[in-house]
Structures are given as C-alpha cells and as structure tokens.
C-alpha cells in the first residue's frame, strides 16, 4: 500500500518549468534516492511536496488524502506528516540546540514542555549531540548543525523525511557523521526521499533509485541496476561520468 502517491506533478520558477510531469509512489518504509545533474529538478520535487514551491499541476496524495496546496489547512496537515531537512541546515540562529529542536512541538503543537524536552534530549543523543544542548548554531560545525536540523525535523514525528542535499554544504570529513545518522534512520524503517550527490551512499541505503533529467524521471529501479546496468543512454552517460572519478 503506497503511502505517498505523486502523479503528473509540475512546478515552475517564473516561466521556467522545472518539474514536467513527475509520477512517483512511495511506500511505507521506502528509502528512495533521487539523483541527476544539477538543475534536473530533484530538489524541486522535495520543495514542491512540502509546498515551498507549490506545484502548478498534478496531484499529491498521502494515504488517500489529496493535498490541496491552495488550502492552508490542507498544507498544514501535510506538514504534520512530512518533514524536510535543507542543504544549509537553516537552524534558528537565536536559539540554542535544544530550543531549536523543542520550539515546533511546544510552541506550534502545544505539547507539554517536559515531555518534549525528554524526547528532544533523546533525539539529540541519538544524533550524537547530547553534550551540545546549550550551544548555539554558530558555535557548531556544519556536520553538527545538520544533525541538529535532522533532530529538529524528527521532533515533529514525521511519517516521511525529505533530505535535500544534506551533505552538499559540508567539508568532506564531516559528511560521514551525517550519513551515519541517516543510515540509522533507514535501519529503523523511516520512510525517506533522499536527494544527494553521494552516489556510494545512495547506492547503499536506497531501496530504489530515481534518475532525473530536465524535470522528468528518466529511469528508476533498484540501485544495482541504475548504477551497473542502466538502460537509458542519458542515465548511462551520467553514471559513467560520476563513477569515472
């Protein structure tokens, strides 16, 4: 039973069509890797799904519930179930690590602070930052900030996690600490859509890999097939360039 059903999704930046009819089913527990050249629309899929770049055509359903991106209540319900982590972390600079993780559950969802704090501490311990609770974002490395951002997203108990090039802004030696965190989530059965240029990682954690170009899905399949035996020439070209170096 698919949890998230995307059909004919289109999105534009001004007059430029960046998504041109995307169909994608995501089942519960799926980990789907989105790969493709820059500008192919991978990140835009994630931004469209959460309503930051609202779709101009097509439909999105979660468990049979159709999302109306023009209706604030519908988008709010959607955002209760989807969470996104950004390339640039986007942490609240005026809040400590713990406050960053706690603010949405306490101030927006009005859950009791003591209960949320316990959960937030556990989440931060899980991403390896149990000793940084009172630090501020600008006192942390990029990798640490990104792990706070992941904890912040998880604090709302999303059903699906969208990861938008979460290691692209990191120094190479900090990439692995973030990837380790995502591996743990994958093992626990978290449903995830992952946009990344870390091909080795995508190959390892994804159940299915989707290759995109020019706003369309060119090819999809199990990682072994996409990386070792792609059928489309465009995919073959991309994969060979990636794997050559």
């Amino acid at each position: 039973m698919p949890r998230l059903v995307i059909a004919g999704l289109e999105a534009c930046y001004g007059s430029l069509k960046v998504l041109d009819g995307i169909d994608l089913d995501v089942a519960s527990g799926d980990v789907i890797g989105l790969i493709g050249p820059s500008g192919s629309g991978k990140s835009t899929i994630l931004r469209s799904l959460v309503g930051l770049t609202p779709p101009t055509a097509g439909s999105v359903e979660i468990d049979g519930d159709n999302v109306d991106y023009k209706d604030a209540a519908s988008v709010a319900r959607l955002r209760d179930r989807l969470a996104i982590v950004f390339q640039q972390y986007n942490l609240f600079q005026n809040m400590s690590v713990l406050q960053n993780v706690m603010i949405a559950p306490t101030k927006i969802k009005k859950r009791p602070s003591a209960e949320v704090e316990e959960e937030a501490r556990a989440l931060l311990a899980k991403v390896g930052l149990g000793d940084k609770l009172d630090r501020y974002p600008d006192e942390l490395s990029g990798g640490q900030q990104q792990r706070v951002a992941i904890a912040r997203a998880l604090a709302l108990r999303p059903e699906i996690l969208l990861l938008d090039e979460v290691t692209a802004a990191l120094d190479p030696e900090l990439v692995s600490e973030v990837l380790d965190t995502i591996r743990v989530l994958a093992r626990e059965g978290m449903t995830m859509l992952i946009v990344s240029h870390e091909m080795g990682f995508i190959r390892e954690v994804s159940r299915e890999v989707v290759f995109m170009d020019a706003g369309r899905i060119v090819e999809r399949g199990p990682p072994s097939r996409i990386f070792d035996a792609p059928t489309e020439p465009r995919t073959r070209d991309f994969v060979s360039k990636i794997l050559r170096h």
Binding site: V50, L52, R79
Partner: protein
C-alpha cells in the same frame, strides 16, 4: 567680564520639584517609546507581509508623521480634537502625540530589520508549521532586536530629550518644572544649567544601562522563548 553672582542657594529648595519633573520626563519617554515600539512592530509587519491596501495605509501614516513637526502633531491633538468633541488632558495629548510619532519612526527602523531577515530560517519555520505571526514572533523579532539594538537605543535617547516639548503644553515634567521655578525665582542661569545637567545625567545613565543590557542580552543571545 561676567558680572553675575551665581546664587545656586536660591534654587536648592526647588530641587525635589525638578527631580519629580525628571521622573515624569522618563515616564513619558518610556511609555511613548514602548508604545511606539509596538506600533512599529505592527507597522513593519504590515509593510513586509500585508496586503496592498494595508501597506498603503501604513505608508501614509509613516509619511505623515515623519514629515510634519512633532509640535504641530501634538497641537493638533490638543487644540483641534476638542472641536470634534474629543478632549485630552495635556499629558495624554503629549503622550499620544509622541507615541504616534515614535510609531512612525520605529516602523521605518524595524522595517529595515524585517528586510534583513534570513529567508532560509523563514522557510524552515514555515515547513515546521509556524504561522506568519509565529514566524514574526520567534524568528524575525529576536533577529530584529539583536540587529537593531543600537539604533533603537539611540531613538530612545532622542525621545527622552524630546519630552521637553511637553512643557509647551503645561505638563510639569523636567523642563516644565524648570519654567515654573524660573518664573518665581528668576534665577534662570542657575535653574537651566541644573536642568541641563539633570538631562545629561539621565541620558548618560540610560546609555550605560542600554549598553549593559545589550551586552548581557546579546552575548548570552536574545531568548524570546
């Protein structure tokens, strides 16, 4: 050669009245500053996120109050409103005038702060389910408070000195009391030099307090949670 004998002794008995006036001056400054700050937050929110009609209304308000003399604004409230059946005490008229005037300037100052908000944090807040109001309260205002602390402090000092205008309307704040005492003792030099010193003391103390507050709040960061 100055042929004048300073006789401060004659005005010492009046010092408590001057200090009482100083307290009233501070009261006026604080009330109108914080009133204006609230108006300014609403104004800047509307200018940044409001619909076009609301934005035009706020722009008109700001344009009017920043392009007419404050004295004229208060005269209007004090002398023209009674013709429409609204009678204000001199203190209320001055407080209202100063607050509306401050609101216009503080709208402009805060608008700049709103414009320097970090779009990335706004997006993060949006997908975490923050409403526009919650984005302003939890993301923009802490940022604005931090970035704008120095210009807001300056505005407060200017407004403290501006309260002397209330004397024109018979409010017995520091300048008003100085005028009263002058009219009974005629020791103008002594009275106004002491009055000036009191103003200097007030603004220096306010500057020092604001500087300490700024360094405490922003070294430990603003916590508006």
């Amino acid at each position: 050669m100055l042929d004048y004998t300073f006789q401060y002794g004659q005005i010492w008995p009046h010092l408590p009245r001057l200090l009482g006036g100083a307290v009233l001056s501070l009261e006026l400054a604080l009330l109108s500053f914080f009133g204006g700050l609230m108006l300014g937050t609403v104004g800047a929110s509307i200018l940044t996120f409001g619909g076009s009609a609301a934005r035009k209304a706020v722009s008109a308000y700001v344009t009017f109050f920043t392009n007419t003399p404050q004295l004229v604004q208060i005269y209007f409230l004090y002398f023209a409103l009674p013709d429409m059946g609204i009678i204000l005490s001199s203190f209320t008229a001055v407080l209202l005038g100063m607050t509306l005037n401050a609101g216009a300037y503080l709208t402009e100052i805060q608008r700049a702060g709103f414009e320097s908000r970090r779009q990335s944090e706004m997006e993060a807040a949006e997908v975490l389910g923050f409403s526009r109001g919650q984005q302003i309260r939890y993301v923009i205002l802490p940022h604005v408070a931090r970035v704008l602390f120095p210009p807001l402090s300056n505005q407060f000092i200017l407004m403290t000195l501006g309260t002397s205008m209330a004397a024109v309307f018979g409010v017995e704040e520091l300048t008003g009391q100085a005028l009263n005492i002058n009219s009974t003792t005629f020791r103008s030099l002594e009275i106004f030099s002491v009055t000036a010193l009191i103003y200097i003391a007030i603004t220096l103390m306010a500057s020092a307090l604001l500087a300490v507050a700024g360094s405490v709040l922003f070294r430990a960061r603003m916590r508006i949670l």
